[in-house]
């Protein structure tokens, strides 16, 4: 280097500096690009995982929904074709039994269809809510009246002037579902309590049946939730009622939850706003 002229040295240093800057810039760009790609890859992996979960949930939903719909269709179709094939030779008693079975299953099919429609509205965030100021005691008594003789022994505890801001049809459906479940699964006394808590009305339906196993409580308000694994089920019903109840409560700015009813049984609760 000692042989080089001063200007040549300066040029070489400038060139070296320029190349170093370019190299450093290229390295910085490469590093930033790598970092970005890494984040993109991470996001893609997360999206893939979410899509897989969604796909699995969708697949399970189709499997269970198909099972639920097919179960009433099979006896309807089966008894109808048996009657058509044997009409002339069938005793009247058999005809009646088959028609009764068709009637039972047709009602069940209708309930299921209603439930699926409700779910599609809930999942799409399209639940129609027409809130009104309602007397809670009156709403409870109307629901009990509609449930018939089976609900005549249900104990009611509700302050006389307690009011709630809710859609009357949705409130009726929520209370009807909780009470039907309690009367169906809960042995012994069933009680419904209502109270004002801050700006909320809290309603609780208690029974003294077997209660819900701890491990099942977190899934209680999910779609097709019934104690048991995917292919088994431990209770009658569609397993859609509580999911619908939660959807209806949330659409009205409310919430639902489960409490153990000590010393025995279940307590299903819902919170809805009080009128201001």
């Amino acid at each position: 280097m000692g042989d080089l002229e001063e200007p040549e040295l300066v040029r070489l240093r400038q060139r070296y500096d320029r190349e170093r800057r370019i190299r450093e810039e290229a390295e910085a760009i490469a590093e930033a690009t790598t970092r970005r790609l890494y984040h993109v890859a991470e996001e893609l992996a997360r999206s893939k995982e979410e899509l897989e979960k969604l796909y699995a949930a969708q697949r399970d939903f189709i499997a269970i929904a198909s099972h639920e719909l097919q179960t009433p269709i099979a006896p309807i179709a089966g008894f109808a074709s048996t009657m058509l094939a044997r009409w002339g030779s069938m005793p009247d008693g058999d005809k009646r039994k088959y028609v009764e079975a068709i009637d039972r299953q047709a009602k069940r099919l209708s309930e299921l269809t209603q439930a699926f429609l409700a779910i599609s509205r809930i999942d799409a965030g399209a639940v129609e809510v027409r809130p009104q100021v309602i007397g809670v005691g009156e709403a409870i008594h109307e629901t009990l009246k509609e449930l018939g003789d089976g609900a005549s022994q249900v104990g009611v505890s509700c302050p006389e002037d307690l009011q709630v801001l809710a859609d009357p049809n949705h409130l009726h459906q929520i209370l009807g579902n909780y009470l039907t479940n309690a009367l169906r699964h809960g042995a012994g006394a069933v009680e419904i309590e209502a109270e004002g808590v801050g700006r909320w009305v809290e309603l609780r339906v208690r029974d003294s049946g077997e209660g819900v196993p701890d491990e099942f409580v977190p899934r209680l308000f999910e779609k097709f939730a019934r104690a048991g694994s995917g292919t088994t089920r431990n209770a009658k019903g569609t397993g859609l009622g509580l999911y619908i109840v939660r959807g209806l409560a949330r659409a009205q700015a409310g919430e639902v939850w489960y409490e153990h009813n000590l010393p025995r049984g279940s307590c299903f609760a819902v919170r809805l706003p009080q009128p201001r």
């Binding site: 099972h67 006896p75 048996t82 292919t231 088994t232 089920r233």
Partner: protein, 136 residues
């Protein structure tokens, strides 16, 4: 249980296992209407009940639902086959997918029907027993 019919022919007994009362009623109706060589040996609403009654009823064929309270149909079938290897079983499920078919095949169950095919049960029972008689 093999029984003798009115004219002396052997009857094929079927155990119906399904938690839906109307489905059991329908399968019973179809079997009883089919002809004299088929009869229903008994019914069970769960896999556990089927296992309890299995030895007493001694059915030639078991018609088994998959989705039931407690044990599933294939879980029940595995226990039945452990106790009675070679027991003829038909899985009859409202939703029959590849996974269920594979589970059934792995247990050696050859016939899986959907509930839409419930009307074919009498014919399938006869075919199964014919295969059995022929050593299939």
């Amino acid at each position: 249980m093999l029984m003798k019919g009115r004219e002396g022919e052997m009857q094929i007994g079927a155990l119906i296992v399904d938690d839906e009362e109307d489905i059991r009623f329908l399968i019973r109706t179809l079997i009883e209407a089919a002809n004299r060589e088929l009869h229903v040996s008994g019914e069970a609403a769960t896999g556990s009940e089927a296992l309890e009654r299995l030895d007493d009823l001694d059915p030639q064929v078991i018609v088994l639902d998959e989705r039931m309270p407690g044990m599933s149909g294939t879980e029940t079938a595995a226990l039945i086959l452990r106790r009675r290897p070679g027991q003829r079983i038909i899985v009859c499920s409202a939703y029959l997918d590849a996974e269920l078919r594979q589970k059934a095949e792995a247990l050696g169950i050859k016939v899986c029907l959907t509930k839409q095919q419930i009307g074919t049960i009498p014919d399938v029972l006869r075919e199964l027993m014919a295969e059995n008689a022929a050593g299939g």
